[in-house]
């Protein structure tokens, strides 16, 4: 699955004018900033939303793991999961052709889950070292 970037609307003409004056750079990494980070915008209830932010130099591929309570059914997922094992409650997304930016992954469940019952993980290879990184995410 090719990764689809989530676009946020720029607030107003002044912002756009300022943006045009800036050099176009692909979100360079700042000191202390992670190459990839994940944050639950909604980490409980029926609708779960996970935002992933990727800085440059971006890993080309991400595997995103979503852990739900075992036996949880899923009404819909966007983008669709590559793997979902309902008995374990583990779903996996494969995002390819990733570029720096923000990505939004959403899930709708038939029944609400409490925020403490879910967790996530992002796995990727650091482009510089080639090392496998496991990044845990909690709501």
């Amino acid at each position: 699955m090719t990764a689809t970037k989530h676009h946020f609307r720029a607030p107003g003409l002044l912002f756009l004018a300022l943006l045009l004056l800036l050099p176009v750079l692909p979100m360079p990494l700042q000191a202390g900033e992670a190459l990839v980070s994940g944050q639950y915008l909604s980490g409980g209830g029926q609708d779960l939303q996970l935002r992933i932010t990727v800085a440059a130099p971006a890993p080309s591929t991400l595997i995103v793991i979503q852990n739900l309570p075992p036996g949880t059914a899923i009404e819909s997922a966007s983008p669709a999961f590559h793997q979902y094992d309902a008995s374990k409650g583990e779903g996996k997304w494969l995002l390819t052709q990733v570029s720096p930016g923000r990505y939004l992954l959403s899930l709708r469940l038939p029944r609400p889950v409490p925020p403490g019952a879910i967790s996530g993980e992002i796995r990727y290879k650091d482009p510089a070292s080639g090392r496998l990184t496991h990044l845990p995410i909690r709501p």
């Binding site: 591929t61 590559h82 793997q83 494969l94 390819t96 052709q97 482009p127 080639g130």
Partner: protein, 178 residues
């Protein structure tokens, strides 16, 4: 200048596998090169990215003539071991890069130069009968960015999502274990 070959450690006879040769240079001006790659006699070359311009057989020889203007260039191709190749046999690759100079000397391609015939898929680097997350990420990091290289993503993802796979000698394909 240096040239480095990336090749899987093993591949199944009859199943295409990818090869990448990375050329790096510190030259500040564009220059022309000839890259020559000699495949093992039991190997059949297929798709090249960019296309190779010349091909001999027995053993197969691929050539690229190119002009490099940046610090790095990559030349890739798919190849297949002949279906009748005996399992566990080793197959050797060799090659070099020639640039225009006083002595027209060739720089040998370093990196991996041998491939073993195996019933395990080339992306299953530890030959454990499954493709795990790390193996999948490695495949995409190395080969995923090469536009148009048909290295069998669909089968690799199918095996990754399954419990495993097994080589079926009769059908000459992999049985996916769900």
């Amino acid at each position: 200048m240096a040239a480095y070959r990336i090749l899987p450690e093993h591949a199944t006879p009859g199943i295409p596998f990818p090869v990448v040769i990375e050329v790096t240079t510190s030259a500040t001006r564009p220059f022309s090169l000839i890259l020559k790659e000699t495949l093992p006699p039991d190997c059949i070359p297929a798709q090249g990215r960019p296309r190779f311009v010349s091909q001999a057989s027995d053993p197969p020889v691929l050539k690229w003539i190119d002009k490099i203007s940046g610090e790095q260039a990559a030349y890739s191709y798919l190849a297949t071991l002949q279906p009748a190749t005996e399992m566990e046999t080793a197959h050797r690759f060799s090659g070099g890069v020639t640039i225009r100079s006083d002595d027209n000397s060739s720089i040998p391609i370093s990196g991996t130069d041998a491939l073993r015939a195996s019933p395990f898929h080339w992306a299953d680097s530890n030959s454990d009968g499954r493709i795990d997350d790390e193996e999948l990420l490695s495949v995409y990091e190395i080969y995923g960015g090469i536009e148009g290289l048909q290295f069998g993503k669909k089968l690799i993802e199918e095996i990754w999502t399954a419990k495993g796979y097994r080589w079926n000698q009769e059908t000459r394909g992999y049985d996916i274990l769900q």
